[in-house]
């Protein structure tokens, strides 16, 4: 916890939080990092395999094969989410499954499944981007900022 947050606490609250923290199990951060490294890596290896498959058998160029590869990974994730397996894998793998495209697909599919009971428009449509919305908003915004910077440097003749 940051110091700024701590300043707002009364001395009794601070004392209790230290007392409680000494008795709480900690997240196994190093183990989690190792698992995330290998699972994340494995997903990338699978992705690489799918890409090679598209290049070899469907004569995609190396660059164009990226799109169907991502689509296959998304479909696999959505299926695993729907069958209720993905959250168990993710509990074990942590950031390993959340950081690649699998994590993004899972946020959308899980929200859609949960809100199906509220109907297709307001439920699925309205809530599908509940978790992934910020990624899109800030992703698009940062792309915009980067483009402006590129245009600026081009105008100066740097690039």
């Amino acid at each position: 916890m940051s110091d700024k947050k701590k300043k707002k606490l009364t001395p009794i609250q601070q004392e209790y939080q230290e007392f409680a923290q000494a008795r709480e199990p900690k997240r196994p951060i190093i183990l989690n990092c190792i698992k995330a490294f290998f699972v994340g890596g494995l997903i990338c290896v699978i992705g690489e395999g799918i890409q090679m498959f598209f290049v070899t058998y469907f004569h995609f160029s190396q660059e164009n094969a990226g799109n169907p590869t991502v689509a296959v990974l998304i479909i696999l994730t959505v299926l695993l989410t729907g069958f209720g397996v993905f959250d168990h894998i993710a509990q074990w793998a942590g950031a390993g499954t959340i950081i690649p495209v699998t994590g993004f697909a899972n946020t959308m599919a899980s929200a859609a499944i949960d809100h199906q009971s509220e109907g297709y428009v307001l439920g699925v449509g309205g809530n599908m981007f509940k978790l992934s919305g910020p990624v899109i908003v800030f992703g698009v915004f940062s792309a915009f900022v980067v483009s402006i910077v590129v245009i600026f440097f081009r105008a100066l003749g740097v690039m």
């Binding site: 009364t10 609250q13 008795r23 199990p25 993710a90 994590g103 899972n106 929200a111 809100h115 009971s117």
Partner: protein, 334 residues
């Protein structure tokens, strides 16, 4: 009758003439499975939404309790029920089915003992001959409302708890056979500034400690008076903190009698359970199922249940508010 600052002593000793516990698939795998009247394999209970499934749990718990008392639902004078959902819809909708005069309650996971205390108060003050109390929670419904979608793949920390899917109901009456409700201590809202919703045990432990201390102070009683002293849903993390905090304050409850419903309800190695169970149904099913069954068998005679509740909402959490907590204690004796 009020004794001390915040404890009610029920002189007429309202009786729990019947009680029922209904659970879901995870509770069926737990060590208390035999104490449930009904266990569901299906998370959905054949309904098309989790919220409707929770309503069904309440209806079944109420109906089973009424049936066990050899009564008809028309004989029930008042119903007091609560749950964790927005506007407590499962309770209100179950009350619609039962069609008895209804008071809705909200005390987060402390609702079960809040209800039992209020029901005993009504019966003791002769404002009712009998009152049915019920509280429920549904794992997926609460995950969906309070945290992330149920199938979302986030990694939970070891302090996280698993919301119990189930409902517990008890019928409190002015006469009859069964365990008696003797006292109730109403808790203050305590906030130690904790903000992590994946560590409710630590947030609620101080509230439990405050209520336990008040209970023994008001009644001038020693913890050894009870055969079992159980907190509601502190889990392994919160229970340890509460025990140590009580020791620090000079109230030493022997480990053999001090337990927690959230620890009892699941096996330690059950997947995704982490620090233990939580939710309105945790204290409700463990008390109205497990503990009352043990009392009826004569294994234990005097129990104190301290149901703990974290009074946060998903919005208060996003607005960076801390988690205030409350705990209510009720003693039940044979």
């Amino acid at each position: 009758m009020l004794q001390g600052h915040q404890t009610w002593v029920f002189d007429s000793k309202p009786t729990i003439i019947a009680s029922a516990a209904v659970g879901g698939p995870h509770e069926a795998q737990g060590p208390l499975a035999d104490d449930f009247d009904l266990l569901h394999e299906d998370f959905w209970l054949g309904q098309d939404s989790f919220e409707k499934a929770e309503k069904k749990l309440q209806e079944q718990a109420c109906e089973t309790a009424v049936k066990k008392a050899n009564m008809k639902k028309e004989d029930v004078q008042f119903l007091m029920a609560g749950d964790l959902m927005n506007q407590t819809v499962p309770s209100s909708f179950a009350a619609r089915t039962l069609g008895v005069p209804f008071l809705g309650l909200y005390g987060a996971c402390s609702t079960s003992m809040e209800g039992l205390a209020l029901a005993s108060l009504l019966v003791d003050s002769k404002f009712a001959k009998n009152v049915l109390v019920c509280s429920s929670s549904h794992n997926a419904a609460s995950e969906k409302q309070y945290r992330y979608p149920t199938e979302y793949g986030s990694q939970k920390p070891p302090t996280a708890q698993w919301t119990v899917t189930g409902a517990g109901a008890a019928l409190v009456a002015d006469h009859g056979d069964g365990p008696k409700v003797t006292t109730a201590t109403i808790g203050r809202v305590i906030d130690m500034g904790l903000t992590d919703p994946f560590n409710m045990g630590a947030a609620m432990a101080p509230a439990a400690v405050d209520t336990i201390e008040s209970h023994f102070r008001d009644l001038n009683r020693d913890p050894s008076y009870y055969d079992v002293i159980a907190t509601g849903d502190l889990g392994r993390v919160g229970h340890r903190i509460a025990g140590d905090l009580l020791k620090k304050h000079g109230l030493d409850i022997p480990e053999e009698i001090f337990t927690d419903c959230g620890i009892l309800i699941y096996r330690k190695d059950q997947p995704m359970v982490f620090a233990g169970g939580s939710g309105c149904a945790c204290a409700a099913t463990t008390t109205f199922g497990h503990f009352l069954n043990r009392m009826r068998k004569g294994e234990i005679k005097k129990i104190l249940v301290i149901a703990t509740g974290a009074l946060l909402s998903p919005m208060s959490y996003q607005q960076k508010e801390s988690i205030p907590s409350v705990a209510h204690a009720v003693s039940i004796e044979l």
